[in-house]
């Protein structure tokens, strides 16, 4: 039963990838059933942008579902929700009117909610509650935006919106944009609406986390792109500038929280916040360029953003799959309880290593290509003669560069503490490698990471026509000789195959040279040098918390750390310590400044409103009568 469900999901994903791939290459179609539901009925329309996201959802769910066969085993709970989840995500990008979109989106949210609360622990109940609240607050936002636009334009069909919206004044359009963008950004996990992510991802089963992080967040980005570029007519500059700044904040704060976290899956969740931030920087840059009549630059930025969307789906699903295996094998999510897994789980370790290097944007893997393109797009802001906007761009460039460095630190920590050195606990020492299907799923995702890097020119050539449907302008990012990506005719060029070949060649060079010179005496194995101590134990290893310490000190204005140290000394002498308790619970600025006050205000409001809830039926009848009279008077 469970097996059949996941096989069906694999087929569904493969079908979605095929249909979406065709749509992405220009095979457009539309179908509608207007009689099926009210408010315009169901309607699906495939275009290039929708095709890209359908293909992305489909292609990501294939390896993840293969992995799920082994991960879920005989567990039958959650199979149906998983299938609905995949199917709904495939529908969201092709939904052509408000009703269809709302149905697909809600199915996606509800199915994922069910899987977040699947484990029925107190922790997952809390995660599910926060997720449900956030996702429905978001729904309220974007639905209000869609209904407003629908009322103004007199149509629920998305394709009919652009022309009448262009005629409206800027204030109205900006209101609609703010509502739509706010709603979609919550789903995308942008700061400060990211709070549900670090709770929901560890709570859900790992294959679900892989899909939620790899593709569901991207559908939020999809909504932002649609709303900003096609639905509301020409965008003013400030929309783009806002997204740029939001992206910069999300990128830096996401990676900073990931760096300080010691829960492996929560770390990955924060890193998703970072990557969504990077994508938003690209989308914002594209909007700002387009609004400043710099279409060719907008194209570069949009291609970079879409490229990063695709890349993140590949390496984040890979990382979540590997992390799921580690958590399954060790029985803990705490980095401080892992260690030495590279010896016990070599395949998982290799998969996580590749994913970590890719997400840290290291050449010659795929994350590097999209961040490189992003830099090239941002650097060209000098061609805009607007000093204020230039400054925003400069901030985004600095944020992107800082994010790159911090991501390296973050994934050195994640891999180094979890997989290297000695096991820190019994359960880590007795961890077992994952079964075949889980390894196969990871291998497919890992291959995708390599292919997306070496085939950079192919990816760019595929994405550029998609971006051109949103930013109709001359091609400014092209491929030269089939191997070199060329941005803005010679502003910057990159040949990933050349980099890859050079790296491999230069790696083998000293190796072969030493072999030929017979200067490779086989190494002597001995214990780690330890200043004369007798025995090396795992307690001597550097911990994740210690590793992150330089960052928590440098960025203390973000972390606002509180460390509590309780030392119980012997009553007779303070030099005989009986017990030491150290606690450094993280504090979150958005919690303290936004959600707690908002929650308090909401609760106070509810308490006031409770005064009218007496429980007496007579009173309620009186309310009904009063409401009726009021309506009669008003209409």
């Amino acid at each position: 039963m469970a097996l059949a469900g996941y096989v069906l999901a694999i087929l569904l994903g493969a079908g979605g990838a095929a249909v979406g791939g065709a749509g992405m290459l220009g095979h457009v179609w539309h179908v509608s059933w207007p009689w099926l539901v009210p408010l315009g009925g169901l309607a699906l329309e495939m275009d290039r942008l929708g095709g890209l996201f359908v293909a992305l959802v489909g292609a990501t769910s294939v390896p993840v579902s293969i992995y799920a066969v082994g991960y879920a085993g005989r567990e039958r709970r959650g199979v149906l929700a998983y299938l609905v989840f995949v199917a709904a995500m495939l529908l969201v990008p092709v939904a052509a009117n408000t009703m269809t979109f709302a149905i697909a989106w809600e199915l996606m949210s509800l199915a994922s909610y069910l899987m977040v609360v699947q484990h029925r622990t107190r922790e997952s109940a809390h995660a599910g509650w926060v997720y449900a609240v956030m996702t429905h607050a978001a729904l309220a936002c974007w639905l209000a935006g869609m209904l407003l636009v629908g009322a103004w334009t007199g149509s629920a069909r998305f394709a009919d919106w652009a022309a009448p919206m262009s005629a409206l004044d800027a204030g109205a359009r900006s209101l609609a944009w703010a509502l739509l963008a706010a709603g979609f950004l919550v789903k995308a996990g942008a700061v400060p609406a990211h709070v549900w992510l670090p709770l929901a991802h560890p709570a859900a089963p790992s294959h679900v986390s892989a899909l939620m992080s790899g593709v569901m967040l991207k559908l939020g980005v999809y909504g932002v792109v649609r709303a900003s570029f096609t639905w509301l007519g020409p965008a003013p500059v400030w929309w783009g500038a806002t997204l740029l700044l939001l992206g910069a904040v999300a990128a830096v704060s996401g990676v900073l929280y990931a760096l300080a976290d010691r829960d492996l899956q929560r770390l990955l969740a924060y890193s998703s916040v970072e990557n969504v931030g990077i994508v938003l920087i690209g989308v914002g840059a594209a909007l700002a360029f387009q609004a400043s009549a710099a279409g060719p630059l907008a194209l570069v930025a949009l291609v970079a953003a879409l490229y990063h969307v695709v890349n993140h789906a590949a390496f984040k699903s890979l990382l979540f799959m590997a992390a799921g295996g580690v958590v399954r094998a060790t029985g803990t999510r705490d980095l401080e309880a892992m260690g030495g897994l590279v010896h016990r789980m070599p395949w998982t370790a290799a998969a996580f290593f590749l994913g970590a290097a890719a997400i840290a944007a290291l050449p010659p893997l795929n994350g590097f290509v999209s961040e490189w393109l992003m830099f090239q797009a941002l650097l060209q802001n000098v061609r805009l003669p607007m000093p204020a906007l230039n400054l925003v761009f400069t901030v985004a460039i600095a944020a992107l560069a800082l994010t790159g460095g911090l991501a390296v630190a973050c994934f050195v920590k994640a891999y180094g503490i979890a997989f290297l050195a000695l096991p820190r606990t019994e359960s880590a020492a007795s961890a077992r490698e994952m079964p075949g299907s889980m390894r196969l799923g990871m291998a497919v995702a890992a291959l995708a990471c390599v292919a997306l890097a070496v085939g950079a020119t192919g990816v760019v050539a595929t994405l550029a026509p998609i971006a051109e449907t949103l930013v109709p302008d001359a091609a400014s990012v092209s491929t030269r000789g089939g191997l070199t990506v060329d941005v803005s005719s010679g502003f910057a060029t990159l040949s990933m195959p050349a980099v890859a070949i050079a790296l491999v060649g230069a790696f083998l060079l000293p190796f072969l040279a030493l072999t030929l010179a017979r200067a490779r005496p086989s190494p002597r194995r001995y214990e780690t040098w330890g200043c004369g101590r007798l025995l090396q134990t795992a307690r001597m290893e550097y911990t994740a918390t210690a590793f992150a310490n330089p960052f928590t000190r440098v960025f203390d204005f973000v972390y606002r750390p509180v460390a509590r140290l309780d030392i119980d000394a012997h009553p007779d002498s303070r030099f005989f310590v009986q017990r030491i308790a150290y606690d450094n619970a993280p504090r979150f600025v958005v919690d303290e400044w936004l959600y707690r006050p908002a929650g308090r205000a909401l609760r106070a409001l509810a308490r006031r409103a409770a005064a009218i809830q007496s429980g007496s039926p007579n009173r309620y009848l009186a309310y009904v009568l009063a409401a009726l009279l009021l309506l009669l008077v008003l209409t």
Binding site: G339, A357, I397, A401, G405, F511, F551
Partner: protein, 313 residues
């Protein structure tokens, strides 16, 4: 094609063979400045030969990461050398920009930091943690400082920057250029592990960064690590010399031009090395948690430089 291969070989030879000499002369200069005689300038070559001949000792707790890292470091450094405008403004990987070079160095740092954690000793972890912290904080400054140059040259291609800037006679008076130079110089000290950020001459665990991270290495592995860190210093000084003082860098690949370019590079490096030696003998190492302040200062300089370009255009 053949010209490319010859150029690649020349780059590898000049950077690979020149790096130990650079470090040797830097040490000799520092010794003379502090009133000692010091080792001969070719001492690093002797050290490398000695290390290559020794049997390495590898900790039993380590994995493949530890043994692969020296070779990966060599690979990233050599590819960075091929991408940088060392001998002419048309390096073998002529398409490359500063972003590729910096991310190649980050790839090396990534591996080296993991290798530091691999042996499971507290020293290695401490060094790794500090090294990635310094690298992460230095990253935005490098990108912004070179961005300030790319803005003036309207290309991010390193060779292109050298060629366009060489044609600008007022370059040396441009405030944006001077600010970017100051920022890049400070960040070079951090990236190459020099004073006041890191002290390459000490093995005192509380002060060291790079040396703590590579403490477990010995034999040929240590030789490769030391050699590549010397090459990294050479490459950063070369970038400083050729990007900020682009005069004398040939734009063609004729043998005579390459020879002249090499001579010009040696001259510029001699000046920079002397400056570095004087600086290192006259200042003390900063406390570890003062280093971010220094890097923040260099970041502010880079940001000012970019702003100056926007204002002066």
């Amino acid at each position: 094609m053949i010209a490319d291969a010859v150029m690649a070989l020349l780059h590898v030879i000049v950077v690979g063979a020149g790096a130990p000499l650079l470090v040797g002369s830097l040490r000799t200069l520092k010794a003379r400045l502090t009133g000692r005689r010091g080792a001969p300038v070719w001492q690093p070559y002797l050290d490398l030969r000695k290390l290559f001949g020794k049997t390495p000792v590898v900790s039993v707790t380590t994995s493949w990461v530890f043994r692969a890292t020296p070779y990966v470091l060599a690979a990233t450094t050599v590819v960075a050398a091929l991408a940088a405008p060392v001998l002419s403004s048309r390096p073998p990987l002529g398409f490359a920009g500063i972003i590729l070079v910096m991310y190649l160095f980050l790839l090396g740092t990534f591996f080296l930091a993991l290798a530091g954690l691999d042996a499971g000793s507290a020293f290695g972890g401490m060094g790794s943690s500090r090294a990635v912290a310094v690298a992460a904080l230095a990253e935005p400054t490098v990108i912004l400082a070179v961005f300030a140059l790319s803005l003036q040259a309207s290309t991010t291609n390193l060779g292109g920057v050298v060629e366009r800037l060489a044609g600008d006679p007022q370059l040396a008076l441009n405030p944006a250029h001077l600010l970017a130079f100051a920022a890049f110089f400070i960040v070079m000290l951090a990236e190459a592990g020099r004073l006041p950020v890191d002290n390459p001459a000490t093995h005192l665990e509380l002060t060291m960064i790079h040396e703590a991270m590579v403490l477990e290495y010995s034999g040929r592995y240590l030789a490769l690590v030391e050699w590549t860190s010397a090459m990294k210093l050479l490459l950063f000084l070369t970038l400083l010399a050729n990007l900020f003082f682009p005069w004398g860098v040939p734009h063609v690949r004729t043998p005579v031009a390459i020879l002249l370019g090499t001579a010009a590079l040696v001259g510029k490096l001699a000046v920079l090395t002397t400056a570095l030696a004087v600086l290192e003998t006259s200042i003390a190492k900063l406390r570890l948690f003062r280093v971010p302040e220094l890097l923040a200062g260099s970041f502010a300089l880079a940001l000012l430089s970019v702003t100056a370009v926007f204002l002066l255009r």
